[in-house]
């Protein structure tokens, strides 16, 4: 019997192994910092201070985390159905169009809390539509969803560039972006949430979409573990042949899972577009769709894990900004390195330590 099939207790599989993977990823990042002649410990302290040392820092951290929760959920929902959605980036970008169109239409007439539900729906529908074609191609024509979603990221980028440069741009302005939304199209900041903890939010763009993200976490948990559809998705993810044999409709389940995934990715746009900048800008997603992959892998595709992982990446993003300010030798791109290492160790090398752990566990279990 190979070591891969030896059962291990849950706390090792869901606690220790991810933690070990994460520690190795951070150790190697530390080595990179050390290699370019800075102290990894100093860097860590600066990073944590920048991210958590002030109300404003925490506000920025949670702002980034909000986007990552949405994209992390997006990737996770697809993974539960056995689909690897690399297209969250493009789906979020197109979702931005949906929520911007709603905001641009309604902001003259109604207050933000009326605009918000429509914007949520608009963003979700546009994101879901962008996921629909790859989903349909996978379900009906057998083209691999990984490849088509990659292609759709690029197509989304070209399409949105075209729209922003030629159609949505404010006449007479140079910057390819829409007009600034009025108050009726802006999501209010969560200043009161920070006040509750006795600190001030400052310039941080933490906004109501953070709460929407938390609600979505709960809804995804209900969907995946408490509904028939979720059960069908998970069955499909574990074994497509068994699922089909059991009478679960393959095409329908694949398409619904991808629509949900795309919708969640699209909703990420609420945070930067309506929450932070109050306008639709070129490339506003800034890689959050790809961070979602790391977040989902690290959080083991569970909403709770995703919240923790998203906050961790929020700390990295905000702390990384502060760090690059204090240590000019370390650029912001160090975050991308850490992100890559997290994906590598938490995703691709997930079970590297498993055989060793099995051996250790068996030694201890016997005594």
């Amino acid at each position: 019997m190979s070591t891969a099939s030896v059962p291990l207790p849950n706390w090792i599989t869901y606690g220790l192994i991810p933690l070990l993977n994460l520690i190795v990823a951070f150790l190697i990042s530390g080595l990179v910092v050390w290699f370019i002649g800075e102290s990894p410990l100093d860097a860590l302290v600066l990073l944590l201070q920048g991210a958590l040392g002030s109300g404003e820092g925490i506000g920025f951290t949670l702002y980034y985390a909000t986007s990552f929760i949405f994209t992390g959920l997006s990737v996770a929902v697809a993974i539960h159905a056995g689909l690897f959605n690399i297209g969250s980036e493009g789906q979020a970008y197109v979702g931005g169009l949906g929520c911007a169109l709603v905001a641009l239409t309604l902001d003259h007439y109604v207050p933000w809390y009326v605009t918000m539900p429509f914007a949520v729906i608009g963003a979700a529908i546009f994101g879901a539509l962008w996921a629909f074609i790859p989903a349909w191609l996978q379900a009906k024509r057998g083209s691999h969803v990984v490849i088509t979603t990659i292609m759709f990221n690029f197509i989304a980028s070209a399409m949105m560039n075209f729209l922003l440069v030629h159609i949505l741009i404010v006449p007479g302005k140079m910057a390819p972006e829409t007009r600034t939304f009025l108050e009726g199209g802006q999501l209010p900041k969560l200043g009161w949430l920070m006040d509750m903890f006795g600190s001030t939010i400052g310039a941080a763009p933490l906004n109501v979409s953070f709460l929407i993200a938390l609600v979505m976490c709960f809804l995804v948990w209900v969907l995946v573990w408490r509904t028939k559809l979720g059960y069908e998705m998970r069955t499909l993810g574990l074994s497509p042949t068994a699922a089909v044999y059991a009478g679960i409709p393959y095409a329908r389940t694949v398409i619904i899972a991808m629509l949900l995934s795309g919708g969640l990715a699209g909703m990420m746009a609420l945070n930067p577009v309506m929450g932070a900048s109050a306008r639709l800008q070129v490339e506003f997603v800034l890689g959050a769709g790809f961070v979602g992959i790391a977040v989902s892998l690290m959080g083991r595709n569970h909403p709770l894990g995703i919240i923790v992982a998203a906050i961790l990446f929020g700390i990295l993003y905000q702390g990384g900004d502060a760090l690059s300010f204090d240590m000019p030798n370390i650029t912001r791109d160090m975050i991308v390195v850490i992100q890559g290492l997290v994906i590598l160790f938490a995703g691709a090398l997930e079970y590297m330590f498993r055989p060793a752990l099995v051996r250790i566990y068996q030694t201890f279990a016997r005594t």
Binding site: S2, V32, I36, G37, F84, I86, I133, L137, R141, G142, S143, H144, V146, I147, T148, I150, M151, F152, F154, I155, A158, M159, N161, F162, V165, H166, F290, I293, L297, N329, I330, T331, D333, M334, I335, V336, V337, I338, Q339, G340, L341, I343, L344, G347, A348, L349, E350, Y351, M352
Partner: protein, 323 residues
């Protein structure tokens, strides 16, 4: 300017833009034919471009740069192998990780070493692969029709360009006429059969990744020290993914790979040329349409509307011996 001169200049830039695609798509061909999905082409290109630019700027020799580019790209390929062959990790996740790692690492290291925001110092002409004038190019230049084609499109390219076109038949020969190629294709279709024949699936797949690494080394080097004179942040700019699209569009076959890359290169060159120009009767065609066209074409092909693209059967599945 008459139309023929225009055509010549577009063809010239088509060749220049196609070369990195040809090398990279052939790299993907070796790896995917052996059953290893290679999303990390982009990362390998970036890593080798950075290594080539660094070493060329320190040593002043383009050949040393090429060597470094190849070595680094092979090492990245081995990392992909370690994750997806030895540890049976998800090949796509591993490829995505490599793309991130290299996108970040090249800028972090570049900034730390050269302090120019991730750029490497501009190379002197002697540290680059510069254009080679083929014999008779100047003599024939004024001959109508053939002259400009020979002098400005076929002649005057750097050595890597000619090498790229040479790599196509070589790859074909390796894949279809050698024992290694036969086994490589077999391991991508049915690794169990190869294993039963007593050949190591793992070692074969590692060798296919090494071959892919070498080819990506050429493409990265081309970007950094043949086409440009320095490494610039994220200079592969999605070319790894276009090459992946080209590979699929060419249905995982070497000669069609070359033609697809030339087609995608032509679209790119044509888009650059058309920027800000109006087509009679239609008006200005947005450049974004040309940018999106390779991806749209690939999706249409994948959907089976223009022929069927059938990937190697065992692609993406790690091989487990005991079953």
């Amino acid at each position: 300017m008459d139309y023929y001169d225009l055509l010549i200049s577009i063809l010239g830039s088509t060749i220049r833009l196609s070369i990195p695609l040809i090398f990279t798509a052939l790299a993907g061909l070796f790896s995917e034919r052996a059953g290893i999905f290679d999303i990390g082409l982009e990362g390998k290109m970036l890593a080798s471009a950075f290594a080539a630019a660094c070493v060329a700027s320190i040593s002043g020799s383009p050949w040393a740069g090429l060597g470094a580019g190849i070595v680094v790209s092979v090492v990245v390929g081995l990392l992909h192998g370690f994750a997806s062959i030895t540890n049976r990790g998800n090949q796509i996740v591993s490829g995505v990780a490599i793309n991130f790692l290299m996108a970040g690492l090249t800028i972090v290291l570049g900034q730390a070493w050269f302090g120019q925001g991730g750029r490497t110092p501009t190379l002197a002409a002697t540290a680059r692969f510069s254009g080679i004038t083929l014999p008779g190019a100047d003599a024939i230049r004024d001959v109508p029709f053939i002259g400009p084609l020979y002098a400005n499109v076929i002649s005057g390219n750097n050595i890597l360009t000619y090498l790229a076109f040479l790599t196509v038949p070589i790859s074909w020969w390796i894949l279809y006429r050698t024992r290694f190629g036969l086994r490589l294709r077999a391991v991508g279709e049915n690794p169990g059969a190869v294993d039963t024949a007593g050949i190591s699936v793992e070692w074969l797949r590692y060798r296919s990744l090494i071959a892919a690494g070498i080819l990506c080394g050429f493409s990265g080097t081309y970007l950094a020290i043949a086409q440009s004179a320095a490494f610039i942040n994220n200079m592969s700019a999605g070319k790894g993914y276009i090459a992946l699209a080209a590979l699929i569009f060419a249905k995982w076959k070497p000669v069609p790979v070359m033609f697809t890359c030339l087609l995608f290169g032509f679209l790119d060159a044509f888009a650059n040329f058309m920027q800000g120009k109006a087509v009679p009767g239609i008006g200005e065609v947005p450049v974004q349409i040309f940018q999106a066209l390779p991806y749209i074409l690939t999706c249409i092909l994948l959907a089976g509307f223009i022929g069927v693209a059938k990937p190697p059967k065992a692609g993406g599945v790690p091989y487990t011996k005991e079953r």
